[in-house]
């Protein structure tokens, strides 16, 4: 339970950085932290203390396998979601560089030519 609570704290830290910070790079870091927090949450769902890798070999008893192996599905999901996170992050950083070229600043409060 403590792990889940700490995980949630990590998510809130990311959300805080995203909402409160004005610097673009800090906002991007906030998004990245949130993505990691959610990935960690998914991994925790399949986590089992002193579990084994979910590979069934011939010399293994099926019952002990079920009781000791970790859940493989969240790992597969997280792998996909990490790749998606990488794509988003790359796009965000590219946007930040372009924004700096246009506005000469990383401060989100000064980047407001569009109204409301």
């Amino acid at each position: 339970m403590t792990l889940y609570f700490l995980n949630f704290v990590l998510l809130i830290i990311g959300l805080y950085a995203l909402v409160v910070k004005r610097h673009i790079v800090k906002k991007i870091l906030g998004v990245a932290i949130m993505e990691y927090a959610v990935n960690l949450f998914l991994i925790l769902l399949g986590f089992r203390k002193s579990g084994i890798a979910p590979i069934l070999t011939e010399d293994m008893d099926l019952r002990t396998f079920i009781h000791t192996a970790v859940d493989p599905l969240p790992q597969a999901l997280v792998l996909t979601s990490i790749v998606i996170g990488l794509g988003t992050l790359a796009l965000m950083v590219a946007m930040a560089i372009r924004l700096y070229e246009r506005y000469g600043t990383f401060d989100m409060d000064e980047i407001k030519r569009l109204r409301g």
């Binding site: 998510l11 959300l15 995203l18 673009i24 906002k27 998004v31 949130m34 993505e35 959610v38 949450f41 998914l42 769902l45 599905l73 969240p74 999901l77 996909t80 979601s81 998606i84 794509g87 988003t88 796009l91 965000m92 946007m95 930040a96 372009r98 924004l99 246009r102 506005y103 980047i111 407001k112 030519r113 569009l114 409301g116």
Partner: protein, 494 residues
């Protein structure tokens, strides 16, 4: 025939990669002709599988609770129709419009990725797969909004990107919550598990509900999650505004909400009330903000928020009549809002501005564009016999018959507000004294006129033959939404 379903995502993705490779040698003609052919082939496949009942495709031969399934039911085919027809018209329109950007290659590559993502979202029967396709469509649309790389476009794109990434995190978190309770990410299997174990009061599912409302609400642009929408829609190139407003917010937002809440988690009175509340606030905020805008595209964007509110109210009321109204309004909004954004692109292309205060008297110089945009405005304002009138009428009648009298009053009020700000648009742009800047304006080229004429004819015909459309397209889709058990049993084969 279910082997045709993966083609809806496979064809656009392969075409996009092919365009990226061959487009290096033929930058001009190959991308646009090839994407036109891609879109045509998708329409052809849709015609082949149309009305053939529910189809299930098991990817890789894995049975439903374990593998990813693609599901084509009547709701999916209804959404596929909207997505692919609007995409086809947009590609025709981009044929001429994108000349000034001098880069067909990246535009059509991203466009086809976005199309693939949206088709995937509509077809998938798996929650995590929904997230993946949603991200494909979203990432392509972030890049397309900032396509012109001017300062304003980049700013809008960055805002959209940050809020979109936030929405994606929330959606993934919600999917994780659902997995932690049910041990499955297959939509039908999750729904079966929730019904069998009577989990509607489960705390983790309540949290997932909240996360999904925030996540998909952000994608749908419902107030209070609308901050990105007016900037993104007004800064994007006109074809992308059409795709965003006409299709993207409906597929990633409204369709996903309908699917997740009606087919998977199950709708509860609390969720219905949240939908109705968000819908009412969206309608009023969108309509009042629409008044104050001088920029044509910003006005259309706020009106999109307002019309999304109508659809949200319809799915919130939840009676079959209200769902019919909501789906019919979704179809109609895809028609007339695409038409209006097309016409705004034409006007901006010809006159160089899109400010209402600088324009005037376009009806003599651009007769076809003017006629089309007048039809679009009358449709969205809800003037009979155009289609918008009927869908709004159905939603209003559904609100009264479900006992929401105050809600019916607000719906009528918003319809009048919509009418008044579209009349202001007409008065300032189409009619009135010709402004000085339109002296040398000529009618737009044929390829830009054609999509507008098609949509204008659709607005008129869908209004006149509304009962045919409702009986043949809307009611089959509505029956999927209101019968959760039918969806579950048809996917799991029970």
């Amino acid at each position: 025939m279910s082997y045709l379903l993966p083609l809806f995502t496979a064809i656009p993705i392969f075409s996009a990669i092919l365009i990226l490779i061959i487009g290096k040698f033929d930058k001009k003609n190959f991308p646009r002709i090839w994407s036109l052919l891609t879109s045509l082939s998708l329409l052809f496949i849709l015609a082949v599988i149309w009305d053939k009942g529910t189809m299930i495709h098991e990817m890789g031969g894995w049975k439903p609770p374990f593998g990813v399934v693609l599901v084509k039911d009547n709701l999916s085919q209804f959404m596929l129709l909207i997505v692919n027809v609007v995409a086809f018209l947009t590609i025709i329109y981009s044929y001429v419009y994108m000349i000034k950007f001098e880069d067909y290659l990246r535009f059509f590559t991203l466009f086809l990725f976005m199309l693939a993502g949206m088709n995937g979202v509509v077809l998938t029967g798996d929650l995590f797969n929904l997230f993946v396709f949603l991200e494909i469509a979203s990432i392509a649309s972030y890049a397309l909004v900032g396509y012109g790389v001017d300062a304003e476009e980049l700013e809008a794109s960055f805002k959209y990107l940050i809020l979109g990434a936030l929405a994606s995190v929330f959606i993934l978190f919600g999917i994780g919550m659902i997995y932690s309770v049910t041990g499955s990410v297959n939509m039908a299997d999750v729904a079966r598990f929730i019904i069998v174990n009577n989990l509607s009061k489960n705390n983790a599912l309540l949290m997932a509900t909240g996360l999904f409302i925030v996540g998909f609400g952000l994608k749908a642009g419902l107030v209070p999650f609308h901050a990105w929408l007016p900037d993104a829609h007004s800064s994007a190139p006109a074809p992308i505004s059409v795709m965003l407003s006409g299709v993207l917010i409906k597929v990633l937002g409204i369709y996903a909400l309908i699917r997740v809440f009606y087919s998977v988690i199950g709708i509860t009175p609390v969720v219905s009330n949240v939908f109705i509340t968000m819908g009412v606030i969206s309608m009023l905020v969108g309509a009042f903000m629409g008044f104050g805008q001088d920029d044509m595209k910003r006005m259309f964007a706020f009106s999109s928020i307002s019309q999304m509110g109508y659809i949200a109210v319809g799915i919130g009321i939840g009676t079959p009549l209200a769902i019919i109204g909501a789906l019919f309004h979704l179809l109609n909004h895809a028609g007339f809002k695409s038409l209006l954004f097309f016409s705004s692109g034409v006007i901006q292309n010809s006159t160089g501005t899109r400010n209402l205060s600088e324009l005037g008297g376009l009806r003599e110089k651009m007769p076809v564009t003017s006629a089309a945009s007048v039809i679009g405005s009358l449709s969205i304002a809800g003037v009979p016999p155009f289609n918008g009138f009927w869908s709004k009428l159905i939603i209003i009648l559904a609100a009264f018959s479900a006992g929401y009298f105050w809600l019916g009053g607000i719906l009528v009020l918003t319809a009048f507000l919509t009418l008044s700000y579209y009349l202001r648009f007409q008065k300032n742009v189409i009619f009135g004294e010709p402004a000085s800047i339109i002296k040398n304006v000529r009618e737009a080229p044929f390829m830009m006129i054609l999509p507008m004429v098609v949509l204008a004819v659709f607005c008129l015909l869908a209004g006149i033959f509304n009962s045919w459309i409702i009986n043949n397209i809307i009611i089959p889709a509505q029956s999927i939404i209101t019968n959760q058990l039918v969806y579950i049993s048809s996917v799991l084969g029970m």
